[in-house]
C-alpha cells in the first residue's frame, strides 16, 4: 500500500501505533548476529511452538517479534516481554515453556533468568540493568524494540516522521540549517561537520548527485553499524532520503560488507518495503521529490571504508583511494558531487529533523554533540552495544555500563578507533569521549570500537596485530604504506619473537613518521597510531621485549614459559598472576582438577586426577590456555630466557 501524502502517513502511523498499544503481550527475541551465534533462532522457534500449543496467538493479543541486537550480547540469547520490559538472559529453548506460563499467561517473572550481578542484584526490568541504565540511546533507540522486517512496526515506533516533516514542510536549505544546529559530526571517525558537507555538495556544479551510506564497517572489534543495519534499517533509509532531499540527489547507494549477510538481507527487505509504501521512488509522499536506493555489496577490503576507495568499489573497480585535493562533494561517485556518511550518522538524521537540532545539541560536549554508539568488547564483563552522550568518560563506559574487566583482572588500556586509533592507558580513563580529546590522547573516535584490555594483553603484540592487519589490507598503490608497513611488521615480528635489536624503536619511529606524512590515504596515514600510542604509554613493555626478551603480559609465545606451582609459593618472577575473583587474586597450589589438561591444545600437561600436574616444556607451545583455564591460580608464567639461564646454571 502506497502512502500518498503526509496526512495519509499520519493516519497510517496512528493506526499501526494504536494496534500495538492494544496488544496484551509481545515477546521480543533478539536475533542479532551475537544472539544467533548463541542459538536464539531455536529460542524463537520454541516460542512459536509453545504459544501455538497453548492456543495463544495474535487474535488473543500475543505476538512474538524477531528483533535486532538488544546490545547486551554477553548475556544472550536475550528475550524481553512487553509491556513492562522484563528482560530474560541466556534463554535456552527449554526455558521457553516457563516464560510462556509465568510471564505471558500470567504477570509473573521467571526470577532465575533475570539479569543479576553483584552490585545491582536481580533486575526485573530492562531499564534497571546497569548496562542499559547508563546509556542514552538515539541511534540505537529502536534496536531490539522493533521487527526490522516490518516497516509498519518501524513506523509505529516513529520512523519516517522526520522525512514527512522535511519533504512536507521544509526547504532543502532549512533541512541543512537544522542539521547544522544539531552540531552533528560524521560518526565514521574523522568527525567532519555533516551540515558543511551537505552544503558543499548542494552548491557544487553538476546535474547528477549521489548520497552514499558507508556500511563497510571494517574495523576489527566494531559492530555498531552492523547492528544498526540489522536492527533498524528504516532509520538509515529515512536519513538518506532526507539527506538526498537536502542536497538535491535522486540516487543513493548503501555500501555494505558482504561479511554481514544478515545486514544485506535486512536492508534489501527494508528498501523493498519502503518502495511499496512510496517512501522511496518517485513523488515521495506526494512532494514531487524522487529518490531511490541501491545496495552495493563490498568484496572484502578494509581500505574500502576510505571514502574515495569506497566510491571506486561501487563503480565496480578495485578499491584504490585517490587524492582528495578535490572533495567528493565536488567530484565523488561517478565523478559527480557526492555526500558520503557513515551508517550511524544517517541513523540520527531523521530524529534530528523530527525533534529539532537543538534537542540533539543539548547532549554532548561543546564541540562533539549528541550521543555516540560503541561496541564494547574485549576483556570486559558485559560486552555489547552501547550508546552514551558524548563526553561520557571511558571509565564510566567500561565500569558502569560494561561492569568492569572480565574476571576482575586489572585494566591496562582501552583501544579505540580500531587500526587507525590507539590505546588509551588506564591512567587516562577519565578522559571524556569526544573527537578532540581522543585525538589529543593519540587515539581517535574511529568507527566506534572500544576494546578493553587487561594485564594479560601485550601491548607490543597488539601493535603487531594491527600492523599485520593493515599490511594485509593496504591496497598497495602508494610506496610508504605498501613497503613501509611491510618493513614495520618485520621489525615487530622480530620483537615479539625475541629477535628485537637495539635501535628497533628508533627505526620504528623514523618509518612511522615517513608513513604518516607520506601516505596517500588515511589508512596509511593513521596506520601508525597503534604503534605510536603504545610506544608513548607502554614504552617499558617494548624495552622488556627488546632488552630482556621478556613479555610482561606473558602472551608472546616465543618469550613465555608456563609451569604449574606445586608448593603454594608463587616463586621467583613477577610473572605470577593468579586468577582473580573480584579484586583479590586466588593463588593456590595445583589440586589436580584436570581442567588445564582438557584446555591444553597440544596435550602437554600430564598428571593424575587430584595429584599435582606438570607441563612438558618440550611440547608446550606457550599459548596460555592452561593459565586462563586454571580455577585456582596454580599456573605461573615467566620469561623463557630465565628458564634457559636456569638450565644453563644447572648444567654447570
Amino acid at each position: 500500500m502506497r502512502i500518498e501524502s503526509g496526512g495519509a502517513f499520519e493516519a497510517h502511523r496512528r493506526r499501526v501505533a494504536e494496534a500495538r498499544v492494544a496488544r496484551r503481550k509481545t515477546v521480543l527475541v533478539c536475533c542479532g548476529t551475537g544472539c544467533l551465534a548463541n542459538g536464539s533462532a531455536a529460542v524463537l522457534d520454541a516460542f512459536a511452538t509453545r504459544l501455538t500449543a497453548r492456543g495463544l496467538n495474535a487474535e488473543l493479543g500475543v505476538f512474538v517479534k524477531k528483533t535486532g541486537c538488544h546490545g547486551c550480547c554477553q548475556r544472550g540469547p536475550l528475550v524481553v516481554v512487553e509491556p513492562g520490559g522484563t528482560l530474560y538472559t541466556k534463554v535456552q529453548p527449554r526455558d521457553v515453556a516457563e516464560i510462556v506460563e509465568k510471564s505471558i499467561e500470567h504477570d509473573e517473572t521467571v526470577t532465575r533468568l533475570l539479569y543479576t550481578d553483584r552490585k545491582a542484584g536481580a533486575c526485573t526490568c530492562q531499564g534497571d540493568v546497569p548496562f542499559y541504565k547508563h546509556q542514552t540511546r538515539i541511534a540505537l533507540r529502536n534496536i531490539g524494540r522493533l521487527d526490522p522486517r516490518d516497516i509498519d512496526d518501524a513506523i509505529a515506533h516513529g520512523a519516517y516522521a522526520g522525512l514527512v516533516r522535511a519533504v512536507g514542510h521544509m526547504t532543502p536549505e532549512q533541512v541543512i540549517d537544522e542539521v547544522e544546529r544539531s552540531g552533528l559530526r560524521g560518526r565514521g571517525g574523522a568527525g567532519f561537520p555533516t551540515a558543511r558537507k551537505w552544503r558543499a555538495c548542494r552548491t557544487a556544479p553538476g546535474d547528477r548527485r549521489f548520497v552514499v551510506c558507508n556500511g563497510d564497517e571494517g574495523d576489527p572489534g566494531a559492530f555498531k553499524d552492523r547492528s544498526l543495519m540489522e536492527g533498524d534499517p528504516h532509520a538509515i533509509i529515512e536519513g538518506m532520503t532526507i539527506g538526498a532531499f537536502a542536497v538535491g540527489a535522486h540516487e543513493g547507494f548503501i555500501y555494505v560488507r558482504d561479511e554481514y549477510p544478515l545486514a544485506v538481507s535486512t536492508l534489501t527487505t527494508a528498501i523493498g518495503q519502503a518502495r511499496d509504501r512510496g517512501l522511496l521512488g518517485t513523488n515521495i509522499l506526494g512532494s514531487g521529490f524522487d529518490f531511490d536506493l541501491r545496495l552495493s555489496r563490498g568484496g572484502g577490503a578494509f581500505v574500502c571504508g576510505e571514502s574515495s576507495a569506497l566510491m571506486r568499489s561501487i563503480e565496480g573497480k578495485v578499491g584504490e583511494p585517490r587524492a582528495k585535493y578535490v572533495h567528493a562533494t565536488t567530484r565523488g561517485l561517478f565523478d559527480c558531487p557526492t555526500v558520503l556518511n557513515n551508517v550511524e550518522t544517517w541513523s540520527v538524521v531523521g530524529q534530528i529533523i523530527h525533534r529539532g537540532g537543538e534537542w540533539f545539541a543539548r547532549l554532548g560536549t561543546p564541540l562533539s554533540k549528541g550521543t555516540k554508539a560503541f561496541s564494547l568488547v574485549g576483556k570486559v564483563a558485559n560486552t555489547g552495544l552501547v550508546e552514551v552522550p558524548m563526553g561520557t568518560s571511558l571509565r564510566t563506559i567500561v565500569e558502569e555500563v560494561g561492569g568492569g574487566v572480565l574476571d576482575g583482572r586489572p585494566l591496562k588500556a582501552v583501544q579505540t578507533g580500531g587500526p587507525s586509533g590507539g590505546c588509551v592507558p588506564e591512567s587516562l580513563l577519565d578522559l571524556p569521549v569526544d573527537y578532540e580529546r581522543l585525538t589529543e590522547a593519540g587515539s581517535m573516535m574511529g568507527s566506534g570500537g572500544l576494546i578493553v584490555m587487561d594485564d594479560r594483553t601485550c601491548m607490543v603484540e597488539v601493535a603487531r596485530y594491527f600492523l599485520r592487519f593493515l599490511t594485509e589490507e593496504s591496497c598497495g598503490k602508494c610506496t610508504p604504506c605498501r613497503e613501509g608497513l611491510k618493513q614495520l611488521l618485520a621489525i615487530y615480528e622480530g620483537i615479539v619473537a625475541g629477535r628485537g635489536r637495539p635501535g628497533d624503536v628508533e627505526r620504528i619511529r623514523t618509518l612511522a613518521e615517513g608513513i604518516r606524512l607520506g601516505s596517500l590515504c588515511e589508512l596509511g596515514r593513521s596506520a601508525v597510531n597503534p604503534l605510536l600510542s603504545t610506544l608513548r604509554y607502554f614504552g617499558e613493555e617494548y624495552r622488556a621485549h627488546i632488552e630482556r626478551r621478556a613479555c610482561p603480559a606473558g602472551t608472546c609465545r616465543e618469550l613465555t614459559a608456563y609451569e604449574i606451582v606445586h608448593d603454594g609459593h608463587p616463586g621467583r618472577s613477577a610473572g605470577v598472576n593468579g586468577k582473580r575473583r573480584g579484586a583479590r587474586a586466588v593463588q593456590r597450589p595445583c589440586n589436580g582438577c584436570h581442567v588445564c589438561v582438557a584446555a591444553c591444545p597440544v596435550g602437554a600437561i600430564a598428571g593424575e586426577r587430584k595429584r599435582p600436574h606438570t607441563i612438558d616444556q618440550e611440547r608446550c607451545i606457550g599459548c596460555g590456555a592452561c593459565y586462563d583455564a586454571c580455577r585456582v591460580g596454580a599456573i605461573r608464567f615467566f620469561p623463557k630466557s630465565e628458564r634457559v639461564a636456569a638450565d644453563a646454571d644447572a648444567a654447570c
Binding site: 572489534g221 552492523r226 555489496r297 565496480g316 568488547v377
Partner: protein, 160 residues
C-alpha cells in the same frame, strides 16, 4: 568463447540480475563465487565479455578483494574471525586446533576438498569472541576442544 560449456548455464541467471556495466562487476563476482565456490577462469572471461570490462580489470578485481578465490574451495568453509576481540580472546588457538585436526591452515583447503579454512576480519560478533563460522553457522565463545563437535554438526540448517 563459443564453446558450449554446461558450467556457464549457472552464470546466466546471475548476469540477468544486473545491468551489463562495469559497476555490476563486484556484485556479479560475489554471486559467481557463491554459485561456483570460486571464480573459474572461463566464467571470468564470459563475465568480462558480457559486462564490457577488459579481462585484465576483471582479474585485477578478482585478486584485489578478499571474498574471491581463484581455486576451488572446499564444500564447507570454516571461517575463523581474527577481529581484535577474537584475537585477544584466543582465535589463534582455534587456528592451531584446526591445523592439527585437518592438516590445513588459513587460506588452505583440505586434501579431500571438504573444508576450506579462512580467516576473516571481524564478523562483528565480538561479544561472542572468539567466533568460528562453519558454513553459515556462527559458533560463539568457540573452544578449541569443541572443534570436533562443530565440524561434525556441520554448517547447515541455521536460520538467518
Amino acid at each position: 568463447m563459443t564453446l558450449a560449456c554446461p558450467e556457464l548455464t549457472r552464470l546466466e541467471p546471475i548476469l540477468a540480475r544486473y545491468p551489463a556495466r562495469e559497476e555490476s562487476l563486484i556484485q556479479v563476482l560475489q554471486d559467481v563465487q557463491r554459485a561456483y565456490r570460486y571464480l573459474p577462469c572461463h566464467v571470468l572471461e564470459q563475465v568480462a565479455a558480457r559486462l564490457h570490462v577488459p579481462l585484465a580489470r576483471v582479474f585485477s578485481v578478482a585478486t584485489f578483494y578478499k571474498a574471491f578465490a581463484l581455486t576451488p574451495q572446499g564444500e564447507t568453509t570454516i571461517q575463523v574471525c581474527t577481529g581484535t576481540a577474537c584475537h585477544i580472546r584466543g582465535a589463534e588457538r582455534l587456528i592451531d586446533e584446526l591445523r592439527d585436526r585437518l592438516g590445513a591452515g588459513p587460506g588452505e583447503t583440505t586434501a579431500d576438498r571438504r573444508f576450506t579454512i579462512r580467516t576473516v576480519n571481524c564478523v562483528g560478533a565480538c561479544a561472542m569472541a572468539p567466533v568460528l563460522i562453519v558454513g553459515d553457522r556462527y559458533r560463539g565463545n568457540a573452544k578449541p576442544a569443541a572443534i570436533g563437535d562443530y565440524l561434525s554438526e556441520g554448517g547447515g540448517g541455521h536460520a538467518h
